[in-house]
Amino acid sequence: MTERKTSMREKTPVQKTAGTRRAALCLTALSGLLAALFLISFVLGRYDVPLSQVARILVSRLVPLEKTWSPNMEAAVINIRLPRIALACMVGCCLALAGTAYQSVFQNPMAAPDILGASSGACFGAALAILLGFSRGGITGMAFVFSLVTVVLVYIIGARTRGSRVISILLAGVMVSSLFSAGTSFIKLVADPSNELPAITYWLMGSLSGARLSEVGFALIPMTIGAAPLLLLRWRINLLTLGEEEASTLGVNTGALRLTVVLCATFLTAASVAVSGMIGWVGLVIPHLSRKLVGNDCRYLLPASMLMGASFLMLVDDISRNLMTTEIPIGILTAFIGAPFFIYLMTRRGNAL
């Protein structure tokens, strides 16, 4: 009798781990993939640095090692490749996390990080900064600020309209977004076609080329501010997908939670777009892939999206800088890879979105 009772008691945790073990396994595998891609990315490039030397150079930053590498190797790894690879990791991670968060908050699997105009705002800010002849740092700063301004504007407009709050905010996002896109087009029209216009066009295509450690540092602060609350709130974000009324009867302060999640996701998007330009599709495709892999529970979905987003963008950036002699802007590549992949996901048999 006692024995039977114990086995009944133990049934619960066992059943729980059946579902969570798979998710934990996926997260471990994704972490391994990310680490491997991170190291391999240092080897790829026109200047040849073997993997063993890459590892030694990276470790030598933390513990002193005997120098078995040339100064050129160290320059290539630390000054050129490290900032770029780190930035690809961070941007991919943040765009995927922001996309997942927006999808949950708007109960819409088609939501992407630019759904509230964060990207079009950043593009306008960057274009304006280039037109005004700002430095690279100034361009990044303007893009970040305009991105935030756009989303705050969208939220205020959405909050002032009547009817469903979520739909109002989404509609406001569409309108404000197109307003800023028109502004960007106008700037391109009046920009000097010999130098400003190409700079604007190139920025809008999205690229991680010429990344510097200072940019990594700049992006790290808002990215941490955006990501930490989302990860902490990941259980509660699940409840937002039930809709406002149901979630609030379960004891969730939906208004405050939704605002927090939107602000955090916007911080992530703004910081990403500001340092890398428009890189589309990561925030839509990666969350979907992650959902397929670990399910919709944000406790596992958010970390999985982050790991997969970082791996994906690092991989695409490796292709971007190595496929041809001239670099292909990464934004073009993510669209080339992302859009067909998404069509495949949508049309695969028995695969409802």
Partner: protein, 255 residues
Amino acid sequence: MSLCVQKLSFSYGEQPVLEDISFSLEKGEFLSVLGPNGVGKSTLFRCILGLLPGYQGSILSDGEDMRRLSGREKSKRIAYIPQINRPAFGYTVLDTVLMGTTRQLSLFAQPQSAQIRQAMDALERVGAAHLTQRDFTHLSGGEQQLVLVARAIAQQADILVMDEPTSALDYGNQLRVLGLVRELASEGYGVLLSTHNPQHALTFASRILALSGGRVAALGKPEEVLTRELVLRLYGVNAVFADTSGGRVLVPLMD
């Protein structure tokens, strides 16, 4: 634990929806709300759940004004069981029921084994323990409704509010869900449930609140207040009652 609605009135803009509604609900009671489409049953429920704060009158829970209570405190007293709908994202049945335990958790906390145990107990209570690892969106309507009842049980509130929980279910599942709800009421929950079928109220409820034109048309025991006149007034349907071995039945007269 009791719920007391006093002189409740609500209007959408100029349009009055509810006028001067008063009733109370005690533990162990199954109060069924009847009324034609658009009479304000859902509005009444949304006022009670604190989703429509702009009402006149008062809603008291154990003598405390619901408007003064925090969302968390409200969710401790009243659990809402919605009609089944298609959620945007599918969660496992266990996770769906675990969401009911969220009010016990601090802001950044995740459900722990104590919450998982409560969720499992709730699933066992409604007879859905075998569904634990299934995707909620892949379940049948009847199973989904049972899981939502389990979520409300896991919420550990004393009052269950159900807005037409049977409207999307087949005949057998309607009766099974209502039978379960009646059992829960006899175990001590206070149940407030709206239905489109007066027979359900007659068979399962311990009291009836009938709404007509935004006002209380009748309030009392089903066998006393559910009359031919009331059915005609609420639905415009002529019907007769017949006493059978299975209880009292309402038969509509079609001409």
